[in-house]
Amino acid sequence: MLMNDKSIIQVEDLHKWFGMLHVLKGITFSVVPREVLVIIGRSGSGKSTLLRCINFLEDPSAGMISVAGVGVLTGPGIKPEHKKILALRLSTGMVFQEFNLFPHMTTIDNVIEGLVTVKRMKKDEAIPIGEKYLEKVGLRDKRDVHPIRLSGGQKQRVAIARALAMEPAVLLFDEPTSALDPELIGEVLDVMKEIAYDGATMLVVTHEMGFAKDVSDRIIFIDQGLIVEDGPPEQIFSNPKDERTRLFLEPLRKVQHL
């Protein structure tokens, strides 16, 4: 993969070990602004770990990660500066499989928490921004409700609003619909689609092949810690170059009507 000045994410030769387990075996790719990149792969292939390494929720064992101009190099014996990691996290927003909303805060407080605590914004300045993003995910009317009163789909939409409110350069989605009941998946995917059309740069780990096919600009297939295939959705779905990609997609084709 060629590095160029236009890319907003660069990952170079990324390795991750969990003890003796080599999960990521040298991942290199880049993402350009406004690109929607979907990462697919079997469970345990390392795709979630890859996503979590990008904002250092997991410390990479070795490699270089750069997001929006902040580059962090790690390796054995190299301890990255904490300040850089914090800066890098400010350029990324993350949406988790389990939502991870703060249960002790109302919806609006969840959304503006980063603005107030991290960006040191005054609360009355942050609230209009929070409301704007709640509006965006269609939950403005739930602003004063605590998360326990929301459905799973609503919780995930609030979590998306929370990530958006920080106005990050890149959005990371870690299996955002996997914890949802089937009838609630649609509302979350709709919101994600809308954000994509608005021009956000998105990295999405998902099993929703329909979303991958319709919304993504590019798909990466990861198997056993390596990028096996990287290309536009048409190519991946209709004409995969690698046998492993075809074997992964074949059974899904029947279930998800691709």
Binding site: G93, F96, H104, V118
Partner: protein, 290 residues
């Protein structure tokens, strides 16, 4: 009952399902009320038995009435001691818990040593050491030429009592705080970190507010235990509840009278404390109710 149930399905009411629901609710409420009354009745019976037992004790109520106010003044000292000490103990427990959860070897070592030392020795000995031992360290410092620093080691009896209780209970409560902090799911920490929070911000804004709700009942429990342990500081001559009751008892050999008076005052204090604690608990639970 069965017949009634059938009737409630009949066409008479405007919404038969609704009246059925109301009926079930009323029955449930009645059962709950009955249960509460039965528990209250058991309390009353036990209280009467206790009172009767006390009346067999050759009890002179007049002595209690005459000296009640003087003993009661000691209750304020007890409350002051316990309130100040529980506040400091909570701070120490928080620091201790953060140390225990830290990866910093100094923090880990200091907190581990602190907990081990103050849980491993009796409160009474800690009181003696703080009251009489610390000033001797201060004296050595004075001799070494640091008189002002040396002075700081001589605490008043009240300060010594607060310090001993805080250190002792702080050590026990460290484990409570640690468990409370650890009970907050890892996802909460990740969500906070992902929006750019530092560790301190994560702890302050996300973890602690949730942990506190979980540990409030345990803190309340420790507070109640501490109220009674304040009696141990009377060895330093603090005129708290036990000191006053004990010294009055000796004046006319009215031990039963004075000890029962003190016991009842402690009991009332703990009842009021647990009531306040449960109110606080309910307030904090607000965000978690559907």
């Amino acid at each position: 009952m069965a017949v009634e149930t059938m009737q409630s399905y009949g066409p008479a009411g405007p919404d038969p399902d609704r009246s059925m629901g109301e009926k079930l609710m009323a029955l449930e409420k009645r059962a709950r009320l009955m249960y509460t009354l039965e528990v209250a009745l058991v309390w009353v019976v036990l209280f009467v038995i206790l009172t009767l037992a006390l009346m067999l004790l050759n009890f002179d109520p007049r002595y209690v009435v005459e000296h009640f106010n003087f003993v009661l003044e000691g209750l304020w000292v007890t409350i002051q001691l316990a309130l100040i000490a529980i506040a400091f103990a909570s701070i120490l427990a928080l620091l201790g818990a953060l140390g225990r959860l830290s990866t910093n070897p100094i923090a880990q070592g200091v907190s581990g040593f602190y907990i081990s030392l103050f849980r491993g020795t009796p409160l009474l000995i800690q009181i003696y050491l703080i009251y009489l031992g610390l000033p001797q360290i201060g004296r050595q410092l004075t001799i070494m030429g640091y008189p002002q620093l040396g002075q700081m080691f001589t605490l008043t009896a009240f300060q010594s009592g607060v310090l001993a209780l805080s250190l002792n209970y702080g050590a026990y409560m460290t484990e409570i705080f640690r468990a409370g902090i650890q009970s907050i799911s890892y996802g909460q920490r990740e969500a906070a970190v992902a929006i750019g929070m530092t560790r301190l911000q994560t702890m302050r804004r996300v973890i602690l507010p949730q942990a506190v709700r979980i540990i409030i009942p345990d803190i309340g429990n420790q507070f109640i235990a501490m109220q009674k342990d304040t009696a141990q500081v009377s060895v330093m001559g603090i005129w708290e509840l036990t000191f006053r009751a004990n010294r009055l008892a000796r004046q006319e050999s009215k031990f039963i009278e004075m000890f029962i008076t003190a016991a009842i005052l402690y009991w009332i204090l703990t009842i009021v404390s647990s009531w306040l604690e449960s109110r606080l608990e309910r307030r904090l639970a607000h965000a978690y109710e559907r």
